[in-house]
Amino acid sequence: MMLICGTVPIKDFPLTLGEVRFDGESLAINDLKIPCTQGTAALISAACITCEYLKIDPPQALLVGDIGEGKGSRSLYEYLIKNVYTLSPDVLVLHYILPVMGLMRKVCESVERCPKRPIMIADASSMYAAKAAGLATRFDIFTPDLSEMAFLADTEATHPAYISRHLFNTDINHVHTLIENAYQNKGASKLLLIKGSTDYVVKDRRIINTIAEPDIPELGAIGGTGDTITGMVSAFAWAGLELHEAAIIAAKTNRVAGRYAKATPATKVWGIISHLPKVFKDNLCEWSGVCMKTGVRDQGPV
């Protein structure tokens, strides 16, 4: 099972666990509707589309309403701490949850007791909490952008708002320094997908791939396009791809979806997500060897 945990920007949305479905406009979980906008909703939407295309089970989600007050996030942490052993997910994705270091530590301790260790993926504030609590190395994948990479590289900072000025000013040409510092300080997960004008896939401090084409700078302005990448990485990992392959394909897919959408700075994230099936149809076989043929998943290209 792939389990995605996060918050939705609806204040009274109850803590809910269930299978999620995406109908092209909004998400549904146990008959509750969630609009597809920036944040965990965008991540889940992209994951749902990817799972559907690959004809694998849709993700399960643990969601709660939180507009920043933290009450919903804390209830989510508590539920996960108590129940992750029973849920025993194969892939565990932690996303927009108020960073609380002590609770993140307890989540990781509970995960360690699971019968089988899940693939651990974190983005957004869950990545912040994991790094701030010194737990980054327990995670398999982080998906930071360049400023978040500066945060991972900063030994002291507990949030990107407090990173050192010189690290914030580090441009993409010095990304190697940030990577080296992040691994040196144990601020990095095993695999990093650094999102930016060039995407970097880094495994155990070594850059193993870069993706720079097609170049769609407008994607950086569109809220949720980082979330879609994390959603796809998670779904591909759940499908059984090697984690670095999952990262490379997700980064490529997002860029091509941006091109198909003729992205502008005003484009909304669902406008990118809606193009994912066509990107998969046109490219996935060539990129991954995962070739879909009349609903059957083959082992190699057809």
Partner: protein
């Protein structure tokens, strides 16, 4: 008979509210606990001491909501300081031009607006739970009419979005004769 001790999870705050007087610290702690914030009265380390031997330890990421609450309750404090790292949130921004659109980036947050109309086209980046909420509240509104992230948000991500918002407003107001936003000084 052996008793198994149940270990309480220690509170791992990452910031301190500093005070000049002990009674101010106690009053602030009471106000914050009453609003369901998880906080703790502690002795500040010598390097951060600002006149009194008590500070309130907080989850630093909640700084913005906490400061707003303290102001609303009339609580007096000297400053909020992180326990590690830089003493002030980042105050620099980066600007990117996309034709008629301008993107302003503050730390991990980005806001993009139309330079002719002042309409907020997108917000992106960040990761705290108030960010998707603020995204929905800001998108397609004019900078001169939209609520400030500082008024609605709770977290450091929202604080950085507020920085990007105010810089965007400044740039937009400079590019021509605009109606002033009531109640906000851009200097």
């Amino acid at each position: 008979m052996a008793f198994k001790l149940r270990r309480k999870t220690p509170f791992e705050g990452s910031g301190l509210i500093l005070f000049a007087r002990v009674e101010d610290a106690i009053k602030a702690e009471r106000a914050l606990k009453g609003a369901n914030y998880v906080v703790k009265l502690v002795a500040p380390p010598p390097g951060l001491r600002k006149g009194c031997d008590l500070a309130v330890e907080i989850n630093l990421v909640e700084q913005m909501g906490i400061e707003r609450l303290l102001t609303q309750r009339g609580a007096v404090y000297t400053e909020v300081a992180p326990l590690k790292g830089g003493m002030e949130p980042l105050d620099i921004v980066k600007i990117t031009h996309f034709g008629d659109a301008i993107m302003v980036k503050a730390a991990n947050m980005k806001l993009t607006f139309d330079k002719n109309t002042g309409v907020i086209l997108n917000t992106s980046g960040g990761g705290c739970p108030d960010i998707p909420y603020l995204h929905n509240e800001l998108i397609d509104k004019k900078l001169t009419e939209a609520p400030r992230p500082k008024e609605l948000g709770y977290t450091l991500c929202a604080l950085m979005l507020d920085r990007a918002f105010m810089e965007s407003l400044k740039i937009y107001m400079k590019t021509g004769v605009r109606d002033q936003r009531p109640g906000i000084s851009l200097r």
